[in-house]
Symmetry: C2
Subunit: 212 residues, 2 copies
């Protein structure tokens, strides 16, 4: 499945056309698809390892990094499929990269696909990949001021995960301030506080992701 | 002081031309200038508050954010000059933004200028601003795999600050792995481990920054 692209379109418009094809493709396979965006080190891959433990062949990941295949290797070790995209310096995934990577997945038992974007709070937010929803992840060590300082992501995210909540005893993070800043940007956002390490609210998150 | 830009240049080439003018401008004022780059929440602004406490009118900051003037306000409250650049969604500073911001600084007693880039490990690394050196900052909660996963920054940085070392008792961060990955990318890099909260190695850093 490929998309015919008129020559006169801008890069962003081309991307959005391919994203639309991706969305149809995902729907034709009965998949729920999320675009997971955060800073480097917020805990995306650790969470995805946990989801792989729980969901195995129902779950797959397409993961983007500037370099290395470490993240895909980590997820495969937990029993789910994972396809690595190395962007070679690119600061975000685009719909074409995702379309190519998706062709490498066996969709037989697949229900849930998470696209782990390049660790970056800015650029990934601007590119549609064909996902159902964007998920923004913010870890306690990053600070409660980030939703206000990086609005482009937080106003587009349907779900905000506040992660590493096990660190709250040693962190100066004002949860109410972070939540209220998220809600100012998007009154309909869902916010779930999780700790992958302690296992907190992972069950709530799985129900959300599976659409239950 | 402005730079004449031939029309046929690419955006990157234009930037590099303006960066060269900036460098001459900084040198004519006898300034040491650093471009500080990290993920959101690695502790850049908290460190700059500490430097403002110590250096007062000898020190100034030009700080870039997508939105808000919180960072500049924080630094001014500690006794140094600070000029905020709001990029309006842009994922990195460029040399022209810095040139305009620099005109707002009183350089009479100034010795040290730090440009706090937008929190992003990818895009800021590719744009020269006229600085003497790039500083990469990596906090313990982000994980020891980041130098290998974000090589574009770490191979260009002259100095790597490993920050929030006070969190080492609760973090699974392999310091030797992080350092060895940095040295593989740049054999001449200087690495300083700091904790702004505990005050560790701030004196070493100040000596480095002042060129002593």
């Amino acid at each position: 499945m490929t998309t015919k692209i008129p020559l006169e379109l801008s890069a962003r418009e081309k991307n959005d056309l391919i994203a639309k094809t991706n969305k149809q493709l995902f729907q034709s396979h009965g998949l729920r698809v999320y675009n997971l965006i955060s800073s480097p080190g917020a805990g995306k891959t650790t969470l995805l390892e946990k989801l792989a433990d729980l969901l195995k062949e129902k779950f797959a990941v397409i993961v983007g990094d500037l370099a290395t295949t470490r993240d895909a290797d980590r997820i495969k070790a937990h029993g789910s499929q994972a396809v690595q995209i190395e962007t070679g310096g690119g600061c975000h995934l685009n719909a074409e990269m995702v379309q190519k990577a998706f062709q490498k997945l066996d969709t037989t038992n697949l229900k849930l696909l998470i696209i782990e974007n390049v660790g970056n709070l800015v650029c990934p937010a601007a590119y549609e990949l064909g996902e159902d929803e964007k998920i923004a992840m913010l870890s306690l060590p990053e600070g409660d001021d980030k939703p206000a300082k990086y609005p482009s992501l937080f106003l587009r995210a349907n779900l905000v995960l506040i992660s590493k909540t096990d660190l709250s005893p040693v962190m100066d993070f004002n949860l109410e301030r972070a939540k209220s800043d998220c809600l100012k940007l998007n009154a309909h956002v869902r916010i779930i506080e999780i700790s992958t390490k302690a296992g907190n609210n992972i069950d709530t998150l799985v129900r959300y992701l599976m659409g239950k």
